[in-house]
Each structure stands twice: as C-alpha cells, then as structure tokens.
Amino acid sequence: MCSRLALKVWREDSSEPVTELDVGKNVCRMRQSPAHRHKVATGGKDNNLKIWDLQKPEKPVFTAKNLRDDWLDLKRPHWVRDMAFIPDSDKVVTCTGYHQVHVYDPASPQRRPVLEAEYGEYPLTALSLPADGNTVVVGNTHGHIALLDLRKGLVRGCLKGLAGGVRALQCHPSQPVVASCGLDRFLRIHSLEDRKLQHKVYLKSRLNCVLLSSKDLEEVGGARGEAGSQEVKEEGEGEEDEVWDTMECVEERQKRKTTEEVTDGELKEKKKKKKGQD
C-alpha cells in the first residue's frame, strides 16, 4: 500500500506493516512486477520512476533520470502516471502526464529512457500491456485510447468510443481484448486486432478501476456457457494480493471514487442486450 510518503507492505494476517519504505512525495502509482514478486515500481508527479526491491528497503534498485534539459536549459517537467513491467525482461514502460511514453531498462547503464514516444496533447492516465509483446495500450484524459508500438514508438491505431477520461485499462492475458473504464460510466471491451468495440456496459457511476479475474466471482448456478467468455470477468477491487490491491495511492484529489462489482450473470445479460441493440 502506498500513501503520500511511505510504501507499506502488509502480510495477509498481520495488522502491522512488515516493511516501510520512503518513496518520496506525490506518488501516483505503484505496481508490482508479475515475474518477481518482490520488485515494485513507484512514480509520481516530479517523482521519477524508482524500482524497489522489497527485501532491501533502503535504496531503490533503479532510479530513472530525467530527460535532458530542453533548449532553454530548463528542467523538463515529468509526471509519471502509470507504469507496467514488460514480461520476459527487466524493462519498465511508463506513461506521463505530459503525453509521453517512456521505456526504461534497468539492465542498461543509462538511466534515461531507452525509448521515448508521444501521443496526443493530453495527460496519459492509464497503460496496459497486451499479451503479445512490443505493443502498449495507453489512454488519456480525453478518452482517446491508442495502441503504440514499442519498437519504434509509433502509433499503431486508436480505439474509439470513450467519451470521458480513461481511468483504467486492462488487457487480457491470452485473448487480444482490452477492457477500459472511465469517467463516462461505461465499461468497454475492444478487440485489439481490428480495434472495434465488442461490448459496452453501462455502469451507473464513474469508474475508477478494472481488473480481470480468472476465477468465478460467485458460484451462481452451473449453466455458464462457453469457457472462453468465462475468462473475461470484470470485478471491482481485487482481493488477491494485499500489496497488489492498491490502485489509487495518493489522496490529493478528493473524489467520489466508486467501482462497480459486476456479477458474471449480469454482465452476460447486459452483453446480450447490447448485442441486440447495437
């Protein structure tokens, strides 16, 4: 769990934090590496990307360096909004509030980003990595979701449909679909290959976070249907890992953050309704 100044690690049964780390102020995001569970990345406003090892809490394993000063010799502002660990390698990709996407490689000697890409003119708020490597999906505050290629940093395509700011994106681990939710109170599922909207569900409050779970949410009857659709289930807040759980770490903005628990049955009904109406 990450709060303004400290990162705390809790164990499932105890009520006292096991370790506490000082991660600097204004942290916006913290993510845990899916490959190495003890590696954690944090970043925030004017707070560069830092990768911590939870077993050695004093110093970060890797601190990113800011970009070079611009032509007026002024410091570049940086605001890390979201990050993700690229699987099968040590690299971390981040998206910033200044519409940039950076890829950092802790293994290389340079602490500046290995790849820098820009998209749009609005802050990028959410990021997700699809199952096949080399691409990343980003969303900004205007509701534009784009697929960027990480080899060169070019835009592969945009996903249309969102009318409000994107709050969270989640790609499916095996199928090429991405779920997005935002302030326009809709949950949308796009397919990544042809970039079309597949499903749209109206959930009545402003959505903050979306997670895909591989287990059944509730044991509701046996008649489920195809196994493929069971993979894609949306739930509100994850309950698995205590460290993984916290999506919103900074309380600087007071908002009514509400997330929706959509049961699988309801979701299917709504999907059917959508299919009938679309």
Binding site: T141, A163, G164, L183, R185, Y202, S205, K255, R256, Q277
Partner: protein
Amino acid sequence: MDITEVPVSQTEKAKKKKNKKPKSKRANEEGSGEGSGVEVKEEDVKMEKSEAGASFPPTFSVSEIKNKQRRHLMFMKFKQEKRKQKLQLKKKKKKERDALGDKAPPKEVPKTIENQRVYDETTVDPEDEEIAFDEGTDEFSTYFNGLTNPKVLITTSDRPRGRTVRFCEQLATVIPNAYVYYRRGLALKRVIPQCVARNFTYLIVVNEDRKVPNGLVLCHLPDGPTAHFKVSSVRLRKEMKRRGKDPTEHTPEVILNNFTTRLGHSIGRMFAALFPQDPQFVGRQVATFHNQRDFVFFRFHRYIFKNEKKVGIQELGPRFTLKLRSLQKGTFDSKFGEYEWVLKRHEMDACRRKFQL
C-alpha cells in the same frame, strides 16, 4: 407522369420526348398515335443528346437531360404532377375517413427525429437508488441540501466588446446574487482560488469572438465540474419584440425540460444550482432551460394567471442557446484536467437520431 404512357416499343418516341420542349412534347403526346412519320425526322436531327442503344428502358430520370433549361422545366412539371397526386390522395383519404365516421382508424403520428430517437441506456430512472446515492454525495449535494447559497461571478474573455458586455449585464439581472467583473487579462487558474476564498459558488466566463459572445464556461466553484458550452443565437433585451419591463430582484423559478440521460441530469443540476432554492412567487418570473436535440434553450419570462386555465406570458431578458462541448471534472484546467464527457463530432454526430443530453 408522362413517361408511363410511352410503351417500350416506341423507343424513338421516348428519345424524342427527352429532347423536345414541353409544349411540343404535349403536342406529341396528344398526337402520339398518328403523325409519327413527321416526328421521326425531327428526332433524327435532335438525336445528339439522347443515348445510343437499341433498348431504351421505360423509366428515365429527369437528370439525364443535358440541357439545363429543359431539365429544369421537366423537373418542375414532375414536381407539379407529384403535388397534384398527393393532394388527390389526401382528398381521397379524407373522404374515406368521413365516410367511416366513428369507425375510422386513428390518425397516424408523423415520424420526427425526437420520435425516432435511439434509446439511450443511460436514461435516468427516477427510482434508481444508485443514482440517488450518487447525487446525494456529488458536488452539488451541499446546494441541494440547502447548505450553501449560490453566488455567481460573471466575467468575460479579455477585452470584451459592447455586445458581450451588455449580455453579461443582462445575465446578472437574470441570475440573482450575481456580480460582473471586468477581466483584466487574469489567468483563470489564479482567479479561481480567489473566488473560492470569497465564497463564490459559480464562475461564468463568457467567451467572445468577433464582437459577439460565442462560448460559455460554467465552473462550479469549490471543486466542481466545469462545463464548456457553445453559445449561439444571443438576443439582448433591446432586440426582443413584445417584451415586458425589466426583471425585478425577485428570485425566479427554474424550469428544466427534457434532461433525461445521466449526462443531461448532471447538466440540469448544474443549471439548477445557479439559482437560489426558494423562488419568490410574488415576482412571477421564471427561467427556463429547455433541452431539445442536445441544444439547451434559455428563456426568461414573466407570467400571470388570467384565470385558472389561462396564462399570459411576457418574455423579458436575454435569450440564448447553448450546446455542451465538454464537461470536466474539477475546476477549470483544460490542459491537465480529466474530462467526464467530450463532444467528439465524428463519432457522436454520425447518427442523427442519437442525442447525448
């Protein structure tokens, strides 16, 4: 139409019809049975316009005539024929209807764009608990619970011209507890904390372009949503016909029409929170925000009940129309703010029957 009288075999006749002027054509029609030999020569001469080909389709469209004057005349004839047929049909139907008397089927309702509106799934159900809870805890809850009174600051973009200045003054008379301030090139992000410190609840910025107001930013102050509208069709008091005297200081009633979807609901609440919650019925003034096809029409009237069934109204005050362009969560911050809704023309305006508000 004339074409229907031409049988397929008389291909030459048909071609000739295309080329001849209407008068001569009429003569041809009447004498279609005879005198074909005479006309054949004429049509040979005028063959250059018609299409070659042995089989001429029985239907031909007016647009195939290349000569603009002749085409125009043919088209006018075509329209007159159509109109005549339509009138005949109407008369026939009316006769049948009268003949049936009471057993006549009910009149059909004509299709309008509002009738054919695509069902919007975000339409608010009045008994919805989630939405009620949402509205009980959103930024306007303090107003709707009676805890705060609206206090509005009206300003413009830099260096406003006469029309905009007058518009702002008239708006200030319409909205109670409103203050107009001249914008001396101040940045809005600096103005907003000062307003919050002085307990303002709303900030209205009228944007001007080419001496005419064309945009409105409505910002709810403690930390509330900011709506950006496009303003069109502004009529000041001088330009209104048959208007009453100037509005008094009584707080008006507010009418909000047709804000059905969830977004419309939020915008409706924004408009409602501009006015104090208890209207003074003595003043008999009413401000109306009527939403139709995503345009919000603002009118300000004074009413008087002549008897129980009849009301007389007098329009006072400015009138204008608004169209929502974006709704941003948080106070005005166009670069880094998060938008709850943004008008994306190519995506949202593609279907004529789908509306957002």
